[in-house]
Symmetry: C2
Subunit: 413 residues, 2 copies
């Protein structure tokens, strides 16, 4: 058996080696966006509340604002009788009062009058002329939210690095933060190489196929919250690939070369990465299946990933190496976007010690919980990543996993 | 205790009643989009492959295309000797051959010559002049993907109603489907009412607060894959609300009225829904906490939801009622986007039989798995939905749940 002359074995990496090599990757710069466009973006700086929410004591029930002491000891058979001294209008300053023995009509959200310390719910009252009959005592503070009880001015309410959710957009609105600082989306250039590839709109001639990786990887980039820069197809030619990768390094924060899958193309990718700037090539070969022919390099602080040509292999390596680096550029944790669900294996998964194996699986529900069924298809079939819902990792030290074992499925999402 | 004069108890609904009332809601019409813009959209029609993938038999390894029979019985000590008759160029039609006793160099992805039925991996060969020494036999079909083995012309590859993922975009590309039919995003109008509300860019005067729901609900609409139509603020005035809701019914597929939280405002919402078209009011009151003051109606086939004014209540009811209806308009299952994770309760959750209670929780990891900690805050606080990661449902028939119980947390995402 011949060894692969194109691979320096001392540079074969495990996933952790690659991520360690990019430990200095920092979040991109901040940019200001209207808070209405901030959903799904990552906060660049911590948000500190500039004012109290609510800005004043508010009723949280419809009823009467009272001095709680005026209701002590009352009950169904022995109501308290108060004088109705008016109404708190919504959106208006509260009137003065109430004086001892008085009550003011108030609605949910209304501003508490300064002398009131509780709201008696409407259900426990009866109004007759000017008289309000109260059949249940109110404790001080009852049915009232104090100024700043929700959010206090000076509170840190949202941390830098947070992916903004719908509730956060609502909070920004409540705080009057109409502009918010988010991390610029990292730009990820995608270059496809391979003499056998044509664009999806073209009819492939004999021996040719349509480009899949440019678009599945571009969509993954988008899914991770980054901005794909699709640089299209380039022939298997050193100078042409070098020029296109150079364009990517100028226009983007990171370059993915979606390699042809033949040894010749892999070698071209390696030579381009070796010569496109400092430090150049970092690793050639990854102890992952599928994913062995991966090339990793860097030029002037911009990571370069030469991914395998098989669509499934390219996706697996993207999720293992590229997504964590995108996350760092967004100021998020490496595993952001990685969602695991526990399941039992529906079949044996063969493997070898000394490498990580990844199997595409689909899930079914059984009485005992989820079952992960491997999508056993030949290497590189597009349909296996379409039918798959996630992947199962066979760790380094294991020579396969057995039917019925508990595993975590890493969901594609 | 007084009963609430504004509520007809015979119309108080449970969640299932509301969803049953909207059982006829159908997917919006199809629209064509470039496949590159299809990520996250929902397929309107099933995609059937128009051609085989791959379009021809392909090598999946680098090596030599051979007639398998020529390698039978060979081994390390007794190699087979074949004549190298040329090279299959990537992206080119395969040359004729190989004749018996011949081999052709081929790379991964190359087109198999018609007379070859297997590829011997390069690692098991040695080339010397014109002679190829083969040290391991190949079985017929080995290292070859047949034309149509990945996808066969006529195969249904993606079903209508599917949310398109990155791998699907790759498949569309591989099939040459440059344009794809997706369901138009449903438009959801959001109207906020309440004399106490100001826009987030304004300074709230005494008794006033900034509008939260318009933007948190708008963001939820977006998160569900629909298009928010933000119609802004309207005063607590029947005619003004009616006009704004009318605008929503014209411009959108559904209208959400994010009500003021006082009884007066709720009553206005109800009266608007009663009179804005047929059938008008369907339900007033929901056996859900928080969410009781919900109003549900319909006008000319367009659902109308009067949501509670408290931001948390509004979100809970949105997730219970509005999201499933949006999903139907997208042609998806009611529970699409609903993600549950199992956890143990970190505290008791009180409730009453006969209604569903929802508690905001945040999650922590313990040795025994996830623990759900209720975010106990007063009703309606914005911060509780920001701190919460999901919600726990206390079912109708239970009078609360106990610390340590197994629950499903419905994650906000």
């Amino acid at each position: 058996m011949r060894s692969d002359g194109g691979t320096d074995f001392f540079k074969v990496a495990v996933t952790a080696d690659v991520l360690r090599a990019f430990r200095d990757v920092a979040p991109r710069e901040a940019q200001e966006v209207p808070f209405r466009d901030a959903l799904g973006r990552v906060l660049a700086s911590t948000v500190v509340a500039g004012a109290d929410i609510p800005p004043f004591d508010r009723a949280v029930m419809d009823g009467y604002a009272v001095r709680a002491a005026d209701t002590f000891g009352c009950g169904e058979s022995q109501p308290a009788y108060l004088t109705c001294a008016g109404t708190v209008e919504m959106g208006r300053p509260a009137p003065p009062g109430p004086k001892p023995g008085e009550a003011l009509r108030i609605s949910t959200g209304g501003m508490m009058p300064s002398a009131a310390d509780a709201v008696v719910m409407w259900e426990y009252t009866r109004e007759d002329g000017d008289v309000v009959e109260v059949s249940r005592p109110a404790a001080p503070g009852e049915n009232v939210v104090r100024a700043g009880e929700d959010v206090r001015a000076g509170d840190t309410v949202l941390e830098a690095g947070r992916l903004l959710r719908p509730a956060d957009v609502g909070l920004l609105s409540g705080l009057g933060r109409t502009v918010v600082e988010v991390v610029r989306r990292p730009r990820v250039a995608v270059v496809s190489t391979g003499d056998e590839l044509v664009e999806p709109g073209e009819d492939p001639g004999p021996g040719m196929v349509r480009n899949v990786n440019q678009y599945s990887l571009g969509a993954w980039v988008e899914q991770c919250g980054a901005e794909p820069v699709l640089l299209g197809l380039v022939a298997d030619d050193l100078e042409q690939i070098r020029a296109r990768v150079g364009e990517g390094l100028e226009r983007a924060d990171m370059v993915i070369i979606s390699g042809g899958s033949s040894a010749g193309t892999r070698d071209l990718t390696r030579r381009v990465v070796e010569t496109c700037g400092e430090p150049g090539l970092l690793f050639h070969g990854l102890a992952v299946r599928p994913g062995k022919p991966t090339v990793v390099g860097s030029s002037g602080g911009r990571p370069i990933f030469g991914l395998p040509g098989h669509p499934v292999s390219a996706m697996v390596v993207f999720l293992l190496l590229v997504r964590p680096v995108i996350n760092r550029m967004l100021g998020r944790g490496d595993d952001a976007g990685l969602r695991k669900v526990p399941a039992r294996l529906g079949d044996n998964l063969p493997s070898q010690a000394g490498r990580e194996d990844f199997y595409q699986v689909h899930l079914s529900q059984s009485d005992g919980g989820l079952v992960a069924h491997p999508v056993f298809r030949k290497s590189g079939l597009v349909i296996s990543m379409v039918r798959g819902e996630g992947m199962v990792r066979v760790p380094f030290e294991r020579e396969g996993l057995e039917e019925g074992e508990r595993v975590d499925v890493e969901i594609y999402s």
